[in-house]
Amino acid sequence: MKILLMGNPNVGKSVIFSRLTGAHVISSNYPGTTIGFTKGKIWIEGKEAELIDVPGIYRLEPFSKADEVAVKMLEEGDLIINVVDATNLERSLYLTMQLLEKGIPMIMALNMWDEVKHKGIQLDLKKLQSFFKIPIIPTVAVAGEGIKDLVLRIKDAVPYKIHHHTDEKRWADIGKIIKEAQIITHRHHTFLEKLGDASIIPQTGLPIAFFILFFSFALIRFVGEFLIQYIMDPFFYRFYGPLISKLVNIPFPAGVMHDILIGKSSNFIESLGLLTTGFYVPFGMVLPYVFSFYLILSFLEDFGYLPRLAVLTDNLMHRLGLHGFAVISIILGLGCNVPGALSTRILETRREKFIASTLLCISVPCMAQTAVIIGLVGKYGLRYVFLVYAILLTIGILVGMILDRILKGGSPEIFMEIPPYHIPHFGTLAKKLGMRIKEFLNEAVPLVLLGVLLINVLTILGFMDFIGTIAGPIITRIWGLPQQVVPAMLIGFLRKDVAVGMLGPLHLSVKQLVIASTVLTVYFPCVATFFILLKELGFIDMLKASCIMISVALLVGGVINFLWI
């Protein structure tokens, strides 16, 4: 049996999904967090059933790719758990009507039940029940309330088929139901609502946005550096380092194996050993920043800030051929380009997806890369790290403006629901953070190890010198970088953090470090992002995007090299 979890965007389907299956899926307080579909298993009356978390939609006529996914899923469903936002019943019922017309057995979860009273709404469950002859269960998914009932009542789901109606008839019916079953009393705005308004009105919202962004980055760095300085570095340098070198020295006091395993240097970045650099980069350098980034991001997401940022930046984004929602892709991309690239699915047109993906690859370094840039370039002063970011931001804006001019068509306007602020639920937040860190480790550690191993093997085989000699002259002349940077660019395709780390042993000047960090961001996406985009954009568009990236990298590296005296 296939059970579909359906409903409007941002009503808590994913939270219910993880409550029902015990599986971990990402949920946030903005519409469009679920863009593909997630499957899980649940047990009903001793039988196994498949539960599918369908992306949120407002109606069965699709507007975007994510909507299409949802509508298609409907053909396969045997039963629908219709998740309805109890605080926004009228709008939610439109989809409910459309779903009932399909004649698929349904039960309704009246979610956010706890918020109903706070919002001055009175709902008459019995009356609601008498209109829809299906089980209706009030739930508070984030707190787990009502979930048990929901499972118990699945067996009671019956098809309650209504006739196919016109738009007007549907709304008229909904109007009738609402009039009888819901009373809304006026009440004063709460503090959170006032804050919500203040952060969306441009006059107050823009200063608030600057403050929040600045404060977030300061906090990310503070927490990241704190973890590195007081936990990771002491662990690696005082405990792990000496131990591992003793252990390796017993069977391999010197020679090829010794060098592959722990390298020649006692510095964890410079040694390029599998057991030293291979573990220090993902755990010692990147993990602290990934942790602090997702801690802050998850809070902002669940609090509901990001849609407001999307509204405030909509104007600027339009000049780059995008609309405000793309700012969410960019912010996700600052953590890891992969979820950033996936989130472009919610953008409506191919043109927007192309521009958003290209800009993401060109000017958004992921947290892994940022962490290593801060580690290497930050030694010479944070202003150089800012310089790299300022250059990337400028490139992003320029390339966006140019693409907007060149590509035919306009960017659709923003049209999105702004969810109210919620104080995040601690358990949900912690779970989400844990999930993201696990995802990072699962993906990063094997690739970093593979990268470090490749560096060693290719160096021993003489391949690194070989391509260095071939591509070196161009890089030396245009970017002013030594030819040893070529291997780093090669490895950058695998992992950007390892690539930036490879600059460590080269002892570059600040100018060279800034140029190398910039071009390593711009020139090409890492392999994980590359394959996602290949799938999302198709071969031709990805080829175009890649050409843009490589040309921009050549150009920008050259410009910095010649302007910086």
Partner: protein, 74 residues
């Protein structure tokens, strides 16, 4: 009758007409923006940025161009 784009912040109005166009109307409809609905303007646009409205306890951001196509009676 004025358009949503021309309305002032904190003013309340009832939607009396939506510009022609099936796609536009169906898009508005999906978020319950229809003739007869009462809404309040929460935020004005700057430099033709989006406007924000509040309706039935929900806020919706609407691009400036779309806001010009929604007409209300104050």
């Amino acid at each position: 009758m004025i358009s949503l784009a021309e309305m002032k912040v904190n003013e309340t109005g009832v939607i009396v007409s939506l510009a022609e166009g099936d796609q536009f109307q169906s898009k508005m409809n999906s978020l319950n923006i229809r003739i007869g609905k009462k809404l309040k303007k929460v935020s004005n646009s700057i430099l033709k940025g989006p406007v924000v409205i509040e309706m039935d306890n929900t806020q919706v951001a609407i691009g400036f161009g779309m806001a010009q196509k929604i007409f209300l009676e104050l």
